[in-house]
């Protein structure tokens, strides 16, 4: 019982094939539209700006239609689940905090900088997915970011977004 619920599919392969092909079709149409706007024919001094992209967009549309028709007519393995609920949960457990992390690095309210945000991200990941002790978490996350700091800011001289702690220490 429990197992069947966990393995419940979130859409079949066929459904997602159709969705992706439709997105391709829309994108191809967008490219064609914009190329037409710029001029996709022969100008006074040669091919116009939309000349090449126009063909690219057309080919996207054609192949998307073929993929769409193929997917719609697909039987058998097309009914296979694209992703089951448990898998999707794992993917979201990673992607959502990752997006939050990127938001923490630089935002108009309180930018944390890449180093502080990374320490928090690694710590959270280790705590919630690895169940490590806070001591281990602190050692791993802080040591990693200190190593990165030395590598980027000191050794290779590649500046990364910095936060309040670096400002306190006098790095700009």
């Amino acid at each position: 019982m429990d197992e069947t619920r966990q393995h419940k599919a979130v859409g079949s392969v066929r459904l997602w094939e159709i969705v992706v092909a439709a997105i391709f079709l829309a994108f191809g149409a967008l490219v064609v539209y914009d190329s037409r706007r710029l001029g996709a024919s022969w100008g006074s001094d040669g091919p116009q700006a939309g000349y090449f992209p126009f063909y690219i967009g057309s080919i996207i549309c054609i192949s998307a239609i073929v993929n769409l028709v193929t997917a719609a007519g697909r039987k058998g393995d097309g009914a296979k689940p694209f992703v089951n609920r448990e898998q999707l949960k794992m993917v979201l457990v990673v992607m959502v905090p990752y997006a939050v992390y990127v938001g923490l690095i630089a935002n108009p309210v309180y930018p944390l900088g890449i180093y502080e945000a990374s320490v928090i991200f690694i710590a959270a990941f280790m705590r919630f997915l690895g169940k490590y002790s806070w001591l281990k978490i602190a050692v791993v996350s802080i040591a990693t970011m200190v190593a990165f700091f030395l590598m980027f800011e000191v050794w290779f001289k590649v500046p990364l977004p910095k936060g309040p702690i670096e400002a306190l220490l006098g790095f700009q």
Binding site: P53, N67, M90, V91, V102, I105, M126, G130
Partner: protein
């Protein structure tokens, strides 16, 4: 024997303490990248590319920079074998065939023999390919000096048609992914007219999409998501390599010289064609299985079954640099990233590179010899160390890799927008991988898009819009015909099979 002289000059460029140190660092980093899930040759080099920006500005720095990056590539090629053999996880697509016999060997307690033969054959394959580059590249470059825009466009066409012809999945998915790459490459300011294309008023899109961001997202984030979905736990065989095992294996290896030669040839030939390394490893495994006396025992743990795919994959991975250097057409995603590096450093890959930057080219070629020797020594001595990395729990390694990807994406243009873009590409890579849309043609189209368009436009300008310019002489006509043949190959092969098989369509085995 002008090549020998040039090569000696190249060794003089490459053999400095600084460059040797970079080689060593590059190989170690490369093996780590090859071993870690979610990091591979292409996105590993992409992430580390920004670190070379300041290095490349110093005099002679571009050579050091390419030595560092190419050694990361060799390291990643070596590293793929470690995970395949010890953990049955192919780190790279071309290591899949190595798992067939490598993992059974490891389970029988012969991991040392499997690793030694894998590393040694990788080295042999690479050496053959570097020899090929040494003697063929100058010829190809000299020949290509005569190329005009139509010829270059036909070479690009050949590259992209080869993808369609050789793809295992649906050709229309390959075309769709590839054209998406071209469309994304077109976003931003048009280089000829200065008009804005496909930006729809968004300032962030002015400079277009950088393929490095796409590579980090598609291959890095996408791969991590796939790994996480499977809830991967690493359970590996013990890795111990003492000198006795190495020497015993080396004594055994010469028996398989026929397989080595065959696999090297297959690898070199396939490597020049884009996307060749993976099919080369499978093809060479299949050929070895068919031709070897022990053929039926393949898959149960035969050393020969490790030699064949590893030789071919490494030969193909190395010879992928030949068209990259001589024509500016990369043969693999990693070669594409290296090409992107050259462009960023202000070098124009292509035939003129051999004339104008001979130091750079021959320094690179010499470093290929040295880098593979350094690589062989490093991997043979440090296997337990690298295998230990894989024992680091996923809950620690995954967030660190994700942080590295974010930093890598940021450093390309110092832009946070790029990091968000990388996230989008990551989700795209995940979905595309699951639905079998190939990623390599997308990346290559994104890299070559502008150049392909320029050569197309120039050809059209020259001929006043007449497409027959692509058949105007034997050379360009030949390449174009070959391209079209490859493009329609999926159709042609089906038609041929129908004629031969008396009207029965071939059963597809995907």
């Amino acid at each position: 024997m002008q090549e020998i002289n040039s090569l000696i000059g190249g060794f003089q460029v490459a053999l400095t303490w600084f460059n040797l140190m970079l080689m060593f660092a590059g190989i170690v980093l490369g093996v780590i990248i090859g071993v870690l899930p979610g990091l591979g040759g292409a996105n590993g080099v992409a992430i580390l590319l920004p670190l070379t920006f300041s290095m490349a500005q110093q005099p002679g720095g571009t050579t050091s920079a390419i030595i560092l990056l190419s050694c990361i590539y060799w390291g990643a090629l070596f590293g793929g074998a470690i995970t395949s053999i010890l953990f049955n996880i192919p780190g790279e697509p071309w290591s899949v065939a190595t798992t067939f016999d490598g993992y059974p060997l490891a389970q029988q307690g012969r991991a040392g023999a499997a690793l030694t033969s894998a590393f040694t054959s990788s080295f042999v394959g690479a050496l053959v390919a570097v020899l090929l580059i040494t003697f063929m590249a100058p010829l190809v470059a000299k020949f290509a000096l005569r190329f005009g825009p139509p010829e270059f466009f036909s070479v690009y066409l050949l590259t992209f048609c080869a993808f369609v012809g050789m793809s295992k999945g649906s050709p229309f998915k390959t075309i769709a992914a590839m054209m998406l790459g071209f469309a994304l490459a077109a976003v931003g300011t048009d280089t000829v007219t200065g008009q804005l294309r496909l930006t729809f008023g968004y300032m962030e899109l002015l400079k277009g999409f950088d393929f490095l961001i796409a590579v980090i997202g598609l291959f890095g984030i996408g791969e991590i998501l796939l790994t996480i979905e499977e809830g991967l736990e690493f359970k590996g065989a013990k890795a111990k390599l003492d000198m006795r095992v190495v020497i015993d294996t080396w004594k055994e290896l010469p028996k398989y010289w026929k397989t080595s030669v065959r696999s090297s040839v297959v690898g070199c030939l396939m490597g020049i064609v884009p996307g060749g390394a993976t099919p080369a490893s499978f093809m060479s495994y299949g050929l070895a299985k068919k031709m070897s006396r022990d053929g039926p025992k393949f898959g149960t743990g035969m050393v020969e079954g490790v030699v064949a795919p590893e030789t071919a994959a490494h030969a193909a991975g190395t010879s992928a640099l030949l068209p990259m250097l001589t024509l500016g057409v990369p043969g693999s995603p990693t070669a594409a990233v290296l090409l992107g590096g050259l462009l960023i450093w202000g070098l124009q890959p292509g035939p003129l590179l051999f004339v104008e930057k001979a130091d750079f080219v021959w320094g690179l070629i010499a470093s290929m010899y040295l880098g593979n020797i350094v690589g062989l020594i490093v991997v043979l001595t440090c296997v337990p160390l690298f295998a230990a990395i894989l024992r680091v729990p996923f809950a620690i390694i995954a967030p660190v890799i994700l942080v590295i990807c974010a930093i890598g994406a940021y450093t390309v243009h110092n832009s946070m927008f790029d990091v968000w873009l990388m996230l989008v590409f990551g989700v795209m890579g995940y979905v595309f991988k699951k639905l079998e849309y190939p990623l390599a043609p997308l990346v290559l189209a994104l890299v070559l898009g502008d150049r392909a368009e320029d050569s197309f436009r120039q050809s059209m300008l020259g001929s006043q819009g007449d497409l027959s310019v692509f058949f105007s002489n034997g050379l360009v006509g030949g390449i174009t015909t070959l391209s079209l043949l490859l493009l329609f190959w999926p159709l042609l092969s089906r038609a041929l099979a129908v004629i031969r098989g008396g009207g029965r369509p071939p059963t597809t085995t995907e």
